[in-house]
């Protein structure tokens, strides 16, 4: 079990220069190939945690391990780390340096010292992965907000990371753009890339993630499989998070005898599908409905 961990935080604390505490005795593990949601309110330490995973901040106490060995904060060590762990910040306006989409995406691979042909190939591939091939020649300031976000992701993907860190990627996107971005993320997971995504949306975290890490006040309150979330009411409450609406609904319907206790739906769309599928009095629960399905572990 332990050796399937890609990254591990061990009792990490971080105190900023101004004396405020960013992280407080935080421990968690990121499994290889998994989808992780860092769930917490604004100011709970999500961004600070992401900055630690990419080596941009160093723990004031505690340690971080990658593949079981401690992070190496030498220059070469950091270069190696950031090649493996890519970070996409929340605001595109603060991380795109060049107005040319193609140029900006080439920045990371060039910093890896790759030759020109390889860089061109990687830029093309990264732009294709986020569906921005057509926009390669357009200037960044002509793109929509959602497109800019995707360019930011391409800029990190072109470095071929094993782990992708995303800070509030859904913020500011309308439902259509959110769906497009989710498809991009699904394709990345299918390619074996691990993802850590910071969010304050418990419904989204429950629907999307394999593992949920709950943060509040700079502390890692709990880490659990998303499927186990229904059992984590107390932890969610402590972190100021509501129960996902779909779970509350499912429970009410179980109490009313409309749906069986198992399986637990992942989102409202799935719940609706089940309601439509199993007419009153004739449950056919053994057929698994489409979509990602939850079952209590």
């Amino acid at each position: 079990m332990a050796d399937e961990l890609l990254l591990e935080l061990q009792a990490v604390s971080h105190v900023f220069a101004d004396g405020s505490r960013g992280l407080d005795d935080c421990s968690l593990g990121i499994r290889r190939g998994s989808r992780n949601a860092l769930l917490g309110a604004n100011g709970s330490g999500k961004t600070t945690l992401l900055l630690h995973l990419n080596g941009l901040l160093q723990p004031s106490a505690g340690g971080i391990r990658i593949d079981g060995s401690p992070l190496d904060y030498s220059r070469d060590g950091l270069v190696a780390l950031r090649r493996r762990v890519g970070l996409v910040f929340q605001n595109p306006e603060r991380q795109l340096f060049s107005a040319s989409v193609f140029e900006d995406v080439s920045f990371g691979p060039l910093n890896l010292g790759l030759d020109e042909a390889e860089v061109r190939a990687r830029v093309a591939q990264a732009l294709a992965a986020v569906g921005m091939t057509e926009q390669a020649e357009r200037p960044v300031h002509h793109l929509s907000f959602g497109q800019k976000k995707r360019v930011c992701i391409a800029g990190v993907l072109a470095m071929r990371p094993e782990l992708l860190l995303l800070d509030e990627p859904m913020a500011g996107l309308d439902p259509g753009m959110q769906n497009e971005l989710l498809q991009v993320l699904d394709a990345l997971t299918a390619r074996g890339i691990s993802i850590v995504l910071a969010t304050h949306d418990v419904d989204f975290a429950y629907r999307w993630a394999d593992d949920i890490h709950l943060l509040s006040g700079g502390r890692c309150r709990a880490s659990f499989a998303a499927a186990d979330l229904p059992q984590q009411v107390a932890a969610l409450h402590d972190a100021g998070q509501p129960l996902p609406a779909v779970i509350a609904l499912h429970r009410a319907l179980v109490a009313r005898g409309v749906l069986p206790a198992e399986p637990v739906p992942g989102d409202i769309a799935q719940l609706l599908a089940w309601l439509a599928e199993t007419p009153s009095g004739e449950p056919k629960m053994n057929e698994t409905p489409p979509g990602r399905q939850r079952s209590a572990a």
Binding site: L56, R82, Q95, A99, L110, N111, L112, H141
Partner: protein, 247 residues
């Protein structure tokens, strides 16, 4: 910015910047070697027609972009037309300058031809392509970095300025002249503070992608760059010969 829009939307968008740069350079040289004002005017006309008909830049856009510079030319010419100063007797006089027409014609011909050469380049070539060209011409890295950042951030800051101006207007910040000055001061001060915050965020973002030193980028390639550049050099040479020969 009209130039910006034309640069991305013209027919020569995908022509190698080296080719367009060579032609513009030849245009500048032709403007300066033109033997007579009439020749210079012909050079200006040829370059303008090339931009409008060849690259399909809208004539209206072309004229609006050229207008401020032409205004400067008009004011400058005006001061050349009038001569002031003490005459032989030491009396202050003013009147039409001797030889004024010839001097103004020379100046106008040269200025308009050079302006047309500049516009040929900037109305057909987006700035990132020009920076790419300067990169190939071995311009110091420090200057290139400043250019890349300046170009990217000027749109971000321009949006910030526009949004803040709108927000201030919504709260009556420009309802009177006195309030207007106060609002503008607040706006600029706020923007100045953002310079540090944005720079810090960009630096962290660069470090996250293994950067932090000189910014390195790869520009997209241009098809037929060699052929187009050769063509432009030939056309440019012909233009210069025309400017010299006709005089």
């Amino acid at each position: 910015m009209l130039i910006e829009q034309a640069a991305y939307g013209n027919r020569w968008r995908r022509v190698s910047p080296a080719a367009k740069g060579s032609l513009a350079l030849a245009g500048l040289l032709a403007a300066f070697v033109a033997a007579t004002p009439a020749t210079a005017a012909c050079v200006a006309l040829l370059l303008a027609l090339t931009t409008v008909l060849g690259a399909r830049v809208a004539a209206g856009v072309y004229l609006r972009v050229a207008a401020p510079a032409v205004g400067f030319l008009a004011i400058g010419s005006l001061s050349l037309l009038v001569a002031v100063g003490p005459d032989a007797a030491g009396q202050f006089t003013w009147g039409l300058a001797p030889d004024a027409a010839r001097r103004v014609a020379t100046l106008a011909g040269r200025s308009l031809a050079s302006l047309a050469a500049l516009l040929l380049l900037v109305l057909t070539t987006p700035l990132p392509d020009l920076i790419g060209l300067l990169r190939r011409l071995r311009v110091p890295e420090v200057l290139l970095d400043l250019m890349v950042l300046c170009y990217r951030m000027l749109f971000v800051l321009a949006t910030a300025v526009r949004d803040t101006l709108t927000a201030q207007s919504a709260r009556l910040g420009y309802a009177s002249l006195r309030h207007g000055w106060r609002s503008l001061g607040l706006l600029l001060a706020n923007l100045a503070v953002q310079i540090w915050q944005r720079a810090q965020a960009l630096h962290v973002a660069a470090v996250a992608r293994n950067g932090g030193g000189p910014l390195r980028f790869l520009s997209p390639g241009f098809a037929n760059a060699g052929r187009d550049t050769l063509l432009a050099v030939v056309a440019g040479a012909a233009l210069i010969l025309f400017a010299v020969g006709l005089g």
